[in-house]
Symmetry: C2
Subunit: 299 residues, 2 copies
């Protein structure tokens, strides 16, 4: 494979996979892009939109790609990464039998929102060093090939989990790849990643889902929701549009951390509830002033 003209195969042509394929091709990291998409409607759409050069099947994609990006929901991704590493093992064996070089140059990466399970599941795989586990922290509340967009990753952070378990060469290639996507690399233990994302990402989704459920439950008149929803409500409830296929496995895999954060969150809601119920305006003011500290951290 030549320096910056890899064949990149993307498994799962949704928001993340599709956007990644677009920019890697446009910006020259990929000389060719292959895509795999099990949903026939989405596959057809990906072709029409031109997210990849070619839509093919899983085996063909793994065989022909230098870099394979697994961009499917996290439950499926765990199994799929292992399957790709198994195939790498088989390729190695074939190469060995024909007396050719043993140097495996293929790399597989995942882009999942939880990292501990996928790193655990692959830890002792003989091909582990060809796997780089990443989490590009970008996205929108929309999903599918229709949601893919150029520039999605620009300026955002990308987590590399347990990067010491990857070969330096594989790691370097993927660092280059995310550099082309204009992402800032952050290195972290998988377990540490899952704690932090429970706080700054997963809980936001749960609170947003709960908010949508509350409003839909009580405000039966949908016209009123539409009429009265100001910008504040729309932005708070935005994540409630997020896809179940993606979020069920995240919440399930990051079970312990998410529950722990939810408990803290429910406690904070109870503190607010008590202050309001007691007409304790000083305490409400204190809680709001404390919450306002978030201004210093986020623009």
């Amino acid at each position: 494979m030549s320096e910056l003209h890899f064949t990149v195969g993307v498994i799962g042509l949704g928001l993340i996979g599709g956007s990644m394929a677009l920019d890697l091709r446009r910006r020259g990291f990929a000389g060719k892009t292959l895509g795999v998409e099990k949903d026939p409607v989405a596959a057809e759409a990906a072709k029409t939109i031109g997210l990849v050069d070619e839509v093919t099947d899983f085996e063909d994609c793994v065989r022909r790609s230098d870099v394979i990006v697994i961009a499917v929901p996290v439950g499926t991704a765990v199994k799929m990464v292992t399957r790709v590493l198994d195939m790498f093992g088989d390729f190695s064996t074939s190469l060995e039998m024909t007396g050719r070089s043993l140097d495996m140059t293929k790399i597989v990466i995942d882009v999942c929102s939880t990292k501990e399970q996928i790193c655990k599941a692959t830890k002792y795989h003989p091909m582990r060093r060809q796997f780089v586990s990443t989490h590009p922290m970008a996205g929108t509340e929309y999903s599918g090939p229709w949601a893919a967009q150029p520039g999605l990753f620009d300026g955002r952070a990308c987590i590399f989990a347990n990067s010491e378990e990857s070969s330096p060469k594989a790691l370097k290639t993927i660092e280059k790849m995310y550099d082309v996507l204009n992402m800032r690399p952050i290195y972290m233990e998988a377990a540490q990643h899952d704690v932090h994302t429970a706080y700054v990402s997963h809980i936001s989704h749960v609170t947003s889902f709960a908010l949508a459920l509350t409003v839909l439950d009580k405000e039966k008149d949908e016209k009123h929701i539409f009429d009265l929803a100001s910008g504040g409500f729309s932005s708070t409830v935005r994540l409630a549009k997020s896809n179940a296929d993606m979020w069920v496995p995240i919440l399930s895999q990051n079970h312990d951390n998410v529950l722990h954060v939810m408990d803290t969150y429910i406690e904070k809601m109870q503190e607010f509830r008590k202050a309001i119920a007691d007409y304790d305006e000083d305490r409400i003011r204190e809680l709001i002033a404390e919450a306002n500290r978030i201004k210093k951290i986020l623009r």
Copy 2:
């Protein structure tokens, strides 16, 4: 006063009052704008930015203005509207004593986020018909004259609460005023307004404050919050930047409705918690799919 060249006096030159003064003057509804701002720094800023033609004191503003906009936090606003109506009463008496027309043309409006208390407090005031109670549903998480901006109200909804208690003439003038601001009028009972806004506005703020508190409490390393916060977290926590001076009286005045919504919300969080704790992926999926219905209502 001439058809579209009213003198508009705005009491409270913050985000709402300041933005309103700007557009009413720019768009010709106001021939002159007066402003009152008790905070000397904010008053100086309002002058420098040029939010109004003239900054003056309360009495002078009420005396000289045709339309007086009370744009201060809701606790203060209740007292202030009554005080303005008292002054209207005095003016009427003076007019009567000098044998001039009794026709009171001055109007006072409020722009508060809760409507029941202000409507109750003014219900039996002899000058009640010169008061129009409104809630222009626009805003940002920022406050003060620095946050004022042209076009803030364009395309948003404006609630008129208990509009049958205003004189038809006063109501017509204020309808025209909001029409100039490009707002859609919605007519509602004050009590009904407070129930609906508890759902689509007040609860969003409480959930956002609680989210900020949770993250600030647990994630001691602020650099991590900054690095890892993706767009989703930022938008969900955005309202946590909102000002205590504004929100303490709203939560306190809309006490019963807000507590009722918070209870429903906490129940929904508990349902999610249970589904996650039980590894009940089918139930998590159901809850998310149900929450996704918000997509049909909000863009």
